[in-house]
């Protein structure tokens, strides 16, 4: 009797030890986190037995910095934007990731060539290409807007506009609407006159703007009829339109492309597992799988061919990808170096403009 007790205790003990293997992944919440849970977390746990805790934030870069500086890191893997990944890495807040250890593509192409240019950084591995677009509610727009100019044209397209409360992407869109070609946007924005020009354009719709901060807000604002058009992360609009049947439509003109990258904060409690997770979830198949849950483009070239239909089995994903040929007509690739440098300055100016 006593023996069995000891035995069971020992067994329970090992069971617990095995269960204790876990990794905490911080992401952006909503439909995006869901796509990661389906495409990465569940298969990862099934294959390795390591459980994944999913936590959300409006922007994971912020809690990461706070946690690392306070020496109390609870997150093992975080999903951050390009400029934040570079900045945090420069500040020594992230673990370096040996990108040569990432799995090669099925046809043998090494990871370094398989990933899109810029997707592999010293401390970060990209998983998706996403974009900031503007979308509209078909019920509230008798004529469909089709260019970024229409977003700033409240005379012909009356109604409120939703915009992310941040200088990034907002200023670029203002300049594109003001007639600056995508290729010149950052050259213009580097000058004082360029910044003035962007704010002058924003001034024309300032009274009609509803500001949003979390990625889940714009689909809600559009569906409620609070705004008639809003900038948004393209995948969120896709999710609201296709999965929830909302009458929302994306306008690709003037879209701004960006990466989301996985990083490991310095001092992460489960660094080994974190690395395993990143290797697993950025392989060709997993990245393609995620694209069947949300319309963000995979960061590997080899995943493109594997992207098929949405998880409902009937919606073709290809035309909803920001990287689809037809959507790249007037597209801007976010210049992370510009934002790493100018973020503080332009947001200060942006805040002052908001308060005026």
């Amino acid at each position: 009797m006593k023996k069995t007790l000891i035995l069971t205790t020992a067994l329970v003990g090992t069971a617990f030890a095995a269960n204790a293997q876990e990794v905490t992944v911080m992401s952006w919440g909503g439909a995006y986190t869901k796509s990661q849970v389906e495409a990465y977390h569940k298969p990862f746990t099934a294959e390795t037995g390591i459980s994944v805790n999913s936590v959300d934030s409006d922007n994971p870069a912020t809690p990461i910095k706070a946690q690392v500086e306070a020496g109390n890191v609870t997150v093992d893997v975080a999903d951050v934007e390009f400029s934040d990944a570079v900045r945090l890495c420069d500040e020594g807040l992230l673990e370096e990731i040996d990108t040569s250890a990432l799995p090669a593509a099925p046809d043998g192409t090494p990871a370094s060539e398989d990933f899109i240019e810029g997707a592999l950084q010293d401390c970060a591995v990209a998983n998706i290409v996403w974009s900031t677009v503007f979308a509209y509610n078909k019920d509230n727009n008798p004529t469909a807007p089709d260019s970024i100019d229409d977003f700033f044209n409240t005379a012909d397209f009356p109604g409120k506009r939703g915009l992310r409360k941040s200088a990034k992407a907002t200023l670029e869109m203002a300049l594109m609407a003001d007639g600056v070609p995508a290729a010149e946007v950052y050259d213009v924005l580097e000058t004082e006159e360029g910044v003035d020009r962007a704010f002058a354009k924003l001034d024309t719709i300032k009274d009609d703007i509803v500001w949003w901060e979390a990625g889940a807000q714009p689909p809600q604002l559009l569906a409620d009829g609070e705004v008639t058009m809003s900038t948004a992360y393209n995948g969120r609009i896709f999710n609201a339109a296709v999965a929830e049947g909302q009458p929302l439509e994306v306008v690709w003109d003037g879209q701004i492309l960006d990466f989301d990258l996985f990083v490991i904060p310095k001092g992460a409690p489960n660094k080994e597992e974190a690395l395993k997770f990143i290797k697993f979830s950025t392989d060709t198949q997993r990245l393609a799988d995620q694209a069947s849950w949300i319309s963000y483009g995979p960061a590997r070239k080899s995943s493109g061919a594997l992207v098929g239909k949405y998880s409902d089995g009937k919606t073709d994903m290809a035309p909803h990808m920001p990287t689809a040929e037809a959507n790249l007509g007037n597209a801007l690739v976010n210049n992370f170096e510009f934002w790493v440098d100018q973020d503080a300055e332009l947001n200060e100016r942006f805040n002052a403009w908001l308060a005026q």
Binding site: N59, D90, E91, G92, W211, D224, D341, A344, N347, A355
Partner: protein, 441 residues
Amino acid sequence: MADMTAGNYTGPAGTEGAAGTLTTADGKPLKAALNAAQSKARWRAFFLVAPLLAFVLFTFVAPIGQLLQRSVHNPGFTTHTDISSGTQTPIMVGLREWFDNNPLGTEPDEAAYAALAADLVVLRELKAPGSVGTRINYERSGSRSMFTKAARRAQKLEPPFKEAMLDLDEDWADPEMWAAMRGASSAYTFNFYLAALDMTRDVNGEITQVDPKRQVYVKLFQRTLFLSLLITFVCFVLAYPIAHLLATLPLRYSNLLMIFVLLPFWTSLLVRTTSWMVLLQSQGVVNDALVGANILADENRIQMMYNQTGTIIAMVHILLPFMVLPLYSVMRPINPSYVRAARSLGATSWTAFRRIYFPQTVPGIGAGALLVFILAVGYYITPALVGGADGQLISNLIAFHMQKSLNWSLAAALASILLGGVLVLYWLYDRLIGIDNLKLG
């Protein structure tokens, strides 16, 4: 307790002390015995409050001390702390020495550039150019990438260093850049306070106003002060009759009404704020009702949210109980016969109210106003959710610098100014009305 013991004994001891040294039964001088007894009581009292004291020190005094320290201390340019090991290494040593030896206004010479290049090599090894660049970027934007780029190539730089550095980026010769580095070369600085008051130092170290297009903080401090006063006043106007009604109604009715006051008080702040969003938004309940009743045309819906109106409405509602409760507790014990006496002596009802009733409620008004005002000054979630652009308060910018721009020193400076402002107002209140007049119940 300690005071009472002291009161009982010092009296007799004091009066008889003049006659000679009094002793207790076991021969000790009475004074010493008394002190011993009292100190025991004092210690006991101290131990009783010790947990609270420790708690307050740990959760209140220490963080505020840290906040104040962070607002004047930013070692981003002077010390590098390795995150995993915690080792601190002094950085930019050569350049800081050059700054020490050469007064403000000296044109940076070859020695300065050589020191800079050598320091950049050390930064590269420590993987610190990003954090140093960020520190300088607070003072001069666009500097961050200059540091990261230059550090990457620092090892390959060859004399003359001035030319080599300028080849990398012409901006290295920018006097503003050198002024910024000189400013940051001491970990202790008041520059964050200057920034928090929309001021900056020019290349000669003189304090100047920042470009009007970038001025934001003073305006927001003013707005916060104005809105908080307005909200306090509206709360007072709304709460006074409610509290009076509660205080004068028979208990069984007033208890019921009291529950209506307390119910929202017990509801989560977020729930209340989001319910206001449901009510006030342009497709919300209030607008729908007005349109449904044909009072408003569908295209003329009132914008009651995402502006100052939204902030004021939601904050007044949330803070109202803080005004009602102190007023109620002061009004309840007021004897109605005073007002009756005044009326019977010929005072009009207005005079009786003004000269008899109102003065007795002043301590409650003071307490309520102080509570509401101080809470309103630091309000953050409600304006963030319903305030839009022009309903933002200074606390939203403090949150912005804490959470988004990650400029914690500036956030600390803003918060310290806010704290200082509230203390000044508290002092003014004490001078004008007197803090002894405060009554919460």
